[in-house]
Each structure stands twice: as structure tokens, then as C-alpha cells.
Symmetry: C2
Subunit: 460 residues, 2 copies
Amino acid sequence: MLNVNDTIIAIATPPGEGAIGVIRLSGTDAITIVNKIFPGKNLAAQPTHTLHFGRIKDGDVTVDEVVVSLYKGPKSYTGEDVVEISCHGSVYVLKQVLQLCMRHGARMAKPGEFTLRAFLKGKMDLTQAEAVADLIASQSGSAHKAAIHNLRGGFSDDLKGMREQLVQFSALIELELDFSQEDVEFADRTKFYELIEKLTNAAQQLLHSFKLGNVIKNGVKVAIVGKPNAGKSTLLNALLNEERAIVSDIAGTTRDTIEETLNINGIIFRLIDTAGIREHTQDTIEQQGIERSREAMSKADVVIYLFDLVESHKSKVVSDSIKEEVAKFKERDIKYLLVGNKADVSSIDTPAGNSVENILLISAKNKENIHQLKDALYNLVAEGQVKQEGTIITSARHFGALQEVVRSLQDIKKGMDNNLPGDLISLDIRTSLYYLGEITGEITTEDKLDYIFSKFCIGK
Amino acid sequence: MLNVNDTIIAIATPPGEGAIGVIRLSGTDAITIVNKIFPGKNLAAQPTHTLHFGRIKDGDVTVDEVVVSLYKGPKSYTGEDVVEISCHGSVYVLKQVLQLCMRHGARMAKPGEFTLRAFLKGKMDLTQAEAVADLIASQSGSAHKAAIHNLRGGFSDDLKGMREQLVQFSALIELELDFSQEDVEFADRTKFYELIEKLTNAAQQLLHSFKLGNVIKNGVKVAIVGKPNAGKSTLLNALLNEERAIVSDIAGTTRDTIEETLNINGIIFRLIDTAGIREHTQDTIEQQGIERSREAMSKADVVIYLFDLVESHKSKVVSDSIKEEVAKFKERDIKYLLVGNKADVSSIDTPAGNSVENILLISAKNKENIHQLKDALYNLVAEGQVKQEGTIITSARHFGALQEVVRSLQDIKKGMDNNLPGDLISLDIRTSLYYLGEITGEITTEDKLDYIFSKFCIGK
């Protein structure tokens, strides 16, 4: 994967028909290759950052009329020579141009290979490269905000700050080692304690942000469960209805939208399809429905337990079963919302004979209190950490590395507590620096890069 | 629709996630609008055909890091100022940038509105504009070739030639009218006959090409029909198998491919799904299957009638039914191929007691003679007109107008035969010129333009 001597090519726009389709080439031969199929102008003689209209020719045959964008390295996305061919957006035409370039020596790019080259050429560090993939995948305001923050180097700056302070101290301690015979202390231990404390706090704050970051990046899986006729499908529709309209307000953007997705205050909630449950409970025995609910619940981050207020008041059995469910949620540490439906036909707010706290009363049918339910969902997930200022960790890889950073910082502290010699403390400092460097990619392995970039889309 | 004083905007790349998504603006305010959200560089002061890296900002908030392509009119696709913003390919990001531009005064473009403006600004004529839509929709080599030919003005040139010759003659005849008292003939009637003959031939040749053109543009619907167990589904799979592999040889391009499509020598054959027929005939009475076959046949351009060679030899009833079918095809003027299956277990090449001509023997199971079947399909449709040199009419609109051209040319000829006065002949010449001009758009109405461009995709 780390071969950067050849010229890579890919279709950079989404698949399908459109007004424009873009083919991107990067590498030492990018200009030479396009020159061979774009007669009438010598691109090598043109200045960088210019646009050129003309024809793509396969011998005598015109394949397309295109605009070529010319970026000469190092002033390009990858740092290499980059040529983009803006074709008519037909899959057929794009394939023809792609194959033509490949016949002239370009190689099909692997996922993320353009961005990998940008990283290898020092155009961006690893957190910025990863932010590119996050930005493309962003479906909500908060995911977008976090990705842009990281793309612009926000996270890298945090880490660089930490790293620099550690390096400084490390230098002083290593200086002590050179003078170890003389028992001097260049590094002020009190200040060092303060620094370790400060860095640990900073790292832990970043670690803490991952809870929200993970939610921002991957969305929240929500299962709506409850007995047949509790109104689950009506609630599903009530939750989705308005949202659908927002999603489809701009023509041509909805084709790839994921179904049954709710955006609440910029966080994506994915409603696990429990429609099957509903349909089945009508056809077959209830037991089967309950089993399916359990399955849906086990996959969910949050469960909305919906019950019929009227039924729950009439029947002690129903009411008891709600209490049992709540007990199970608590026992299994499942986040849940207890929602009483059909508030339009019932003025009762507690199930018979049981006092269950925090019931949200709604009418799915009349769309009453749906907004409150959304707020409750959001608050359950965001838990007050929503002041989305500064860096939010959205990557499990970063989370793992930061855990190692905190661990080694604690080792440093322990070492100082036990008055360990400077060379041993220095080792722990290096461990900290190693993991900080691993996040930004200053320290990395080919396997790790392979893994990170394989999750990109082709053409980026 | 013909308002060209405002600035239009659209997402020009296909919907979905990709490395790049492009937003296109065209109009007098295109540069002003982008300047407001792209700080750090005054685009108005930059030369045309240049690329600019920077940030799209909504106030203080960075929306994306982008590359802006600048085209100053009239050297642009539309002839107006055009700005393209190449964003990270997230639907969310594209919508943000789109809405931001709209807040600053851009209006959402209607389908084809960019190309409409190019037409209105004289950047292309109507046949070229229509070729843009054809090119984007092209899925096969021949559709692509026809679209490129027309995009480059091939068809326009043909028409221009015809028009010029008619105009010349028309001028001479109108000159005669000025000297009508003197009974002179400036226009040589013999030469005029020759010209009308020549133009009629040319127009009729174009009309004739529409048969193939229609096939090239819209593909050929093929129904595979026959009795249960004739091997229809096996044949369907045999026909599709290889093709599927070809379609999917480049990653990322197959998502939108239409299922059950065969490309034979650059022409698209769409296999009408008769799987339903097959499944049903196994479950229910045969009569129902036959009815469904009839329905599929009525929608098809070509019918493959498949029968079991072994059965047809054993049973006079089966053999007779084949003969009946063939008779019906001939009666209804349906193009058909008679295909005997299971040639692997039968050496018999004619049904019992009946001589039916032109049976193609295959073994769907062993994929024997499938290639011959494809050739037969192709020849049935192309009928020797496949020398795809010169112009091929692919548009029903052009076909209709050319019919009117031929009709008026015949009227001219009739008028001369009957020695009609020059002013009446001149009227017919004008009718010819009118319809020729309508094809290229020299003569058109707003309604007609609306109709033509509404079939485009948004962003083109």
C-alpha cells in the first residue's frame, strides 16, 4: 500500500447518473497520462490551478468533452501532481475514461489512497486524514462540526500542546541523567507533578468526550418496544413524519438517505425496525413478539418502552409487567424511557397499583408531546456534555491510544511518588509520547495505516 | 423558465456519499455570491479558468474546505459567469453549502436549466443540448457514440447543409416573384427537382435511422416465453451470467446498474422479467402461465419463444402449439426467435410432424450456442443498418419534425409538377425551413423548450 511511485486513479464522485462525474489522478505520471488522451493542449506547459476545456480522445474516437483541472505538486491535495477530469456524469462515459487512463499506465486507487498519499507527503497528519473520512460520512450537524474541527487540526493542536510540554520535561530529566554523578535536579519535581496532573486531566477530558463523540459519529440505536397495540408503529410514524419532510426538501439528495433516521439537535438516532415485531404479534402468539423485542433491545443504545395508559390502569397484570420491565432495564444497565401512550383518551398518569417514576405521557395518534419525547431522548444520550466546544473524540482508535497515554502518565506519577531514578521515569514519558504520536501518525506502522485508510471511500 | 437574469444553483454530482461533491452556480451574481462565503480571496479579481483552495464560511463557522473553479462568461458552459464548488462528498455538507448560497441569493435550478442557458446564449443548438442529456443517460457504446456525434454538432451540420441549399433556392424563387411581370426563371427547375430529390433522400435516410436510433437510446425489450420447463430461467441465467461479470469489473460503478440488462455489440437488451411466469406455471394451472406470457409479449420488442426439443418431438400436441405460436407472431407482426432448448439431450432439430423454419438449437444448461442466440437477437434488431457512420436519429422529437420536412418537400415537388406559381412553392419551402429550424432550435417556443429541458437531470 505504501508504494507511492506509481500514478493512481479513481472515480471521485458518487456512483450513478449526474450532471458531472469526476475522475481523479495523482502521481508522477498524472499529467503525462492525461496529456496522451487530451490532445490540443500540453498540460505540462500550463500553470498549476488552471482549468482546461477539451476532448478526451481514444485514438480518433472522441470519448467525451471535458474540463481538466490541473494541480501541480506540491500545491495539491496529495502533494503530488493531481489531474481531475470533469466528465459528463454517465457511468458508461466515466468507465471509458477510467479504462483509457489505465491503459496509459494509471493504476486503480485503493480506498483512501489519495488521502494516504497526502498524509505520507506531510500535507496533513493522521487525525486530519481521519477527519476527511468522517466529514464525508457526516450526516448531522454535530458530526460535521466535529469532523471540520479535526480536519482543521483542532485535535492535533491539543495533542501537540501536550506533547511539547512532555518533551520539554523529558529533555530536562534526560539532562539530569548526563549529570547523574552530581545529583542535580534540573527538572522541578513540583512543576512536573503539576504538569502530569494537567495532562492527565486534559487526556481524561478527551476520553470522556468519546461517549458523546461515539454517539455523534455512529448515531444512537433506539428500539421502541412494548406490548401489541401499545401504539409503537403510530409512534414511529409520529417521530419520523416531520423529519422525512426536512430530509426531502431539496430535490435529488434523498436517494441515499437511510430510512428511519431521526436527527435531534444534530445527533442521529437510528430507529431499529421493530415493525416486524408489531406485525408478528398480530399474527402469532404474543410470546414470539416479546422474544423479538428482547432481541431488538439487546442491539439498542436506548429503549423506548411504550405502554397503553388505559390498559395499564385497568389491569394489574399489565401494570406489574411494566414494573418488571423497568427492573430489568435497571438490572442490565440499559438506558430507557418509559412512555405512556394514549394520553388523549386517558387522564391517568400512573399504572394501577404501582408507582413507576418518570413516565412521559404522550399521544402518538394526536402527536402530543412528541417534541418532549425527542428532548428526553436527546438528554438521555447527551447527558449535559453537549457544550460542543473544543475537541470531541469520535474515533475508537484515538480513544484506545488516549487510554494508554493516561495509563503511562499515571505510571510517571507513581514512579515519582516512589522516587524512581530519572532513567525509569524517562521510559514512561517516552511511552506517553509514543501513544500521543501514534494518534497524529508521527509514529505509525504500515499495518496500522492500511487499517485506517481501508475504511475510506474510493477516490478520496 | 426563460428568466435568465437570476443566478441558479444545483448539486451537479450524483446523490450519495463520495470523495467529491460539486455544486454549480451560473448567472450574473455567481461570483458575488461565492465571494460572500469564500473569504480570503476576491474571486472577481482572479482570472477565468482558475482553481482556488479555501474555506466556505457561514459567518464564523467553517462549513467545508473546498476548491472553487472559476469560469468567467462568456467562456463557460452556460456563457454566463459559472462557479463550481468542489466539496467533500457528504450529502450533509453539500446541502449546507447549497442552502448557504441560496440564502445569499442563488435560486435552485430546474432540471436542464444550465444547458437551457447555454442554448439561449448560443453556446450550442438544440440538437447539441439534447445530446448532453443523451450522453449522460448513455449506457452502451452505441448510445454513447450517437450522443457524442450529436454533441459535436454532427446532426446540426447535416441539417444546416440541407437548410442552406433550400434557402438559396428559396431566394432565387422569391427573386422571380419580384420580376413576376417579366416571366423569367432565375431558379433552374431541373436543378431544383434534383435538389428536392436529394434532400428528400437525405431526410428519409435520417428517418430510417430512427428505427436503430430508438433501439440505441431506449434499448430493446426482450420477453423469453414458452411452456413450463422449457428452460426459460436457465436461459435467462445463461444470457446474463457473463454480462454480470463485465458490469462489475470496476469497483464502485455497479450500484446503479439496471438488473437483467444485456449489452450485445453496444446495444442494450432489457430482459422482461418473466420469472413470475415461470414460478407461477409450476404452482398453478398452465392457462394462467400462458396469459402472463401473452402480457409480457405484448410489451416486448422481441420475443424469444423457447421450447423443449425432446417434448416437441415426442408430442404432436406440443409441436402443433409451436406452429400456432409462430403463426400468431407473424399475424401480429411480432419479431421473434424460435429457440429449441435441450439440444444436449436431443439430436432432433424439428418438432414432430411440422416443419418450422429457422429454429435455433441451444442448450441453456450447458451454455451451448448462447453466443449464436445473442448474434441472432442483435441481427433481428439491427437488420443490417448497423454501419453506425454518420448521424442516427435517436429522438422522437427529431423524427416527428423530419417527417414534416419530408412531407413539405413532397408538397414542393407536387407544386412544381403542377406548375404552381412561385409564391405558393415558396410557402412550402418555408414550411420545410421551419421544421428544419425547429430541430436545431432556431425556431422554437417557450413551451417546447420547457418540455425538452424538463427531461434533463438537475445540475446540468
